[in-house]
Symmetry: C2
Subunit: 331 residues, 2 copies
DNA sequence: GCGGCAGCCACAATCGATTGCGGTCGAGCA
DNA sequence: TGCTCGACCGCAATCGATTGTGGCTGCCGC
């Protein structure tokens, strides 16, 4: 406020004049003087000083494993838009899939007085998140969640998505459907695979050795999974991959051993990353409203921060949609 | 330091004990007591308070136009890794391609006491950046630069890239090569198009109505450019697009009027976004070391911040590489 | 035995904004 | 005229860390 002392008033008065909710305690004439002085000096309040006094920094942190994975940019964008519209600043941290560096980053963010976290890196057992939940730091999980669901979570209707895939393939006449599952230390891996099991049972299709868990959500892991599938000799005419990258890796691997999609087998992905529609054949996949997820997570966080109390909703699952393209065909 | 007063010493002493460079002024015994007390309490220094006193926040801001454009995530990642290794925090802001919101975001960042900026949204005439340059805020431009080059810039050898494309096409026998240029309010648009002109002249190829400027770097603008090219009746057998998205849009548009690539024409892109190698036909394009660009920009910024003086290098251009794939063929 | 020096630490100011409390002044009323 | 009340504003503490200055203690040398 040193600057606005240019108006010839006490910093306390200037502070009140500039603060809409305390402006009533200052005469309109003084308010005018202060506002004009502030404009003249191009005054920007020092958020650090304010944060120090009020312990509110209007900063929210978004923690993601790898920004170069096309899954995350839409989430980031959705969150950014909501947050900046609410006057919040987004700090992004990319943990590089490394729990240790995640720990460090989150500690650093807290030292910076961040008001809350949106976390997209949750593992199924995640002690770090348990700690955050325990000490009441406003934290919202997005895309993945932890086993204990004591933190609000914004995700997608994974179960629906997988069922749509299985039904679609079954309707096309496929019976030997296998699932390239995601890692079991992620909620998406677990839930999509259990949804696969349920959907297959519903259709009375064979489940024996129909699920292969992949080590990570990457093309390399998808290729490795497909290689294991081939090596096992297990007959299959269709694959439900737990996400798009696994599907891509599997297709590449199978192409290497002469299997063409959709001539020799069908495959579905999950997430509908950008460019999936540009591939040849274009990938049949489940579209997830990623930007909405980010935006909704941000809104949930803002609600929590604003209420000073507990979060409002504990779990929100956004609807998904099956996008049928070229990688699925009748059997 | 209230917390470390648990050690029974004055906060000033604790501060010095915890500060490696001032530790000499405190007896080893006291240092040990303070360090132990800090560990016991799980002390994390309050960066706000520190920043308030020292006017150094160890935060750097990265300003990008649209995180969902695959061009930017690698840059973000490269910068993030360098910054967090140096103990800095990255705050990301997505301006949504809107200069007004960019102004607001940057003002907000400065209020937060950010130590410096990395900016990927530079326009050719950019008053906002002129202001930043004028008042000495550490700022590094990445990918694009402004007309006045008073700010350090980290980019790619665009000239080389375009020349490689033209030479490659000319070597394949193409003579009627046209350029889908980027917007002229970006440095990349201007420089790639002037490089195109130079390369064509070098090869003694016809330049008449060979350059079509696109309104933005998007698929839609690329499609519009291709439509204009068709409508003009200008003969062509090859296109040098100013970036991958323009190439994609053009290919889609031309496919709509029956022209197949590479049967009927060849085309090259620029940047080598992820998934460009997965298309059919896979895009021949210029690979730009995006992550390196981000990392180098971050290092340049850190150098500036650390030196308290002026930036070291004013312009760095990283080498590019032509990746020949399926969209170019002999004529 | 006393002056001086150095090592170690405490005091207090500072960064910029917020906020409870108290003081001043003018108006209204008896 | 004197008292009260309320509007308005200033004082000073506070948030947590940093840092220049000064004071205390103990040891050394003369």
């Amino acid at each position: 406020m040193e600057v606005a002392r240019e108006a010839g008033v006490h910093p306390a008065t200037a502070s009140r004049a500039l603060n809409p909710s305390a402006r009533g305690e200052v005469s309109p004439r003084t308010v005018r003087r202060v506002v004009q002085a502030a404009e003249r000096l191009g005054y920007v309040p020092n958020t650090l000083a304010r944060g120090l006094r009020t312990s509110r920094s209007f900063v929210a942190a978004l923690v993601i494993p790898d920004i170069t994975n096309s899954l995350f940019p839409p989430i980031v964008r959705g969150a950014e838009q909501v947050l900046s519209a609410a006057g919040f600043t987004l700090v992004l941290t990319d943990t590089n899939n490394d729990p240790d560096s995640e720990r460090g980053q989150i500690a650093s963010m807290r030292a910076h007085g961040v008001d809350g976290f949106i976390i997209a890196t949750a593992r199924w057992q995640d002690s770090l998140l348990d700690e955050l939940a325990a000490d009441g730091t406003p934290t919202v999980l997005v895309n993945r969640r932890t086993a204990k669901s004591d933190l609000p979570f914004v995700g997608a209707e994974d179960q629906d998505g997988v069922r749509l895939c299985v039904d679609h393939l079954a309707d096309l006449g496929h019976r030997n459907i296998v699932h390239l599952a995601g890692p079991s230390d992620t909620s998406t891996g677990r839930e999509r695979s259990s949804a696969f099991r349920a959907a297959m049972r519903m259709r009375q299709l064979p489940l024996r050795s129909a699920i292969l868990e992949c080590a990570s959500y990457s093309e390399a892991a998808g290729a490795a999974g497909a290689a294991r599938l081939r090596a096992s000799g297990r007959p299959f005419s269709a694959i439900v991959a737990a996400n798009d990258l696994l599907a891509l890796g599997a297709m590449e691997q199978l192409a290497g051993s002469g299997l063409q999609c959709p001539r020799d087998y069908s495959i579905t992905g999950f997430n509908d990353l950008s460019f999936m529609s540009k591939l040849t054949p274009a990938l049949t996949t489940v579209r997830v409203p990623l930007a909405e997820m980010g935006a909704h997570a941000a809104r949930t966080l803002l609600g929590w921060i604003g209420s000073d109390g507990n979060p409002t909703s504990l779990r929100v699952l956004l609807p998904v949609e099956l996008i049928i393209r070229g990688t699925t065909s009748p059997h």
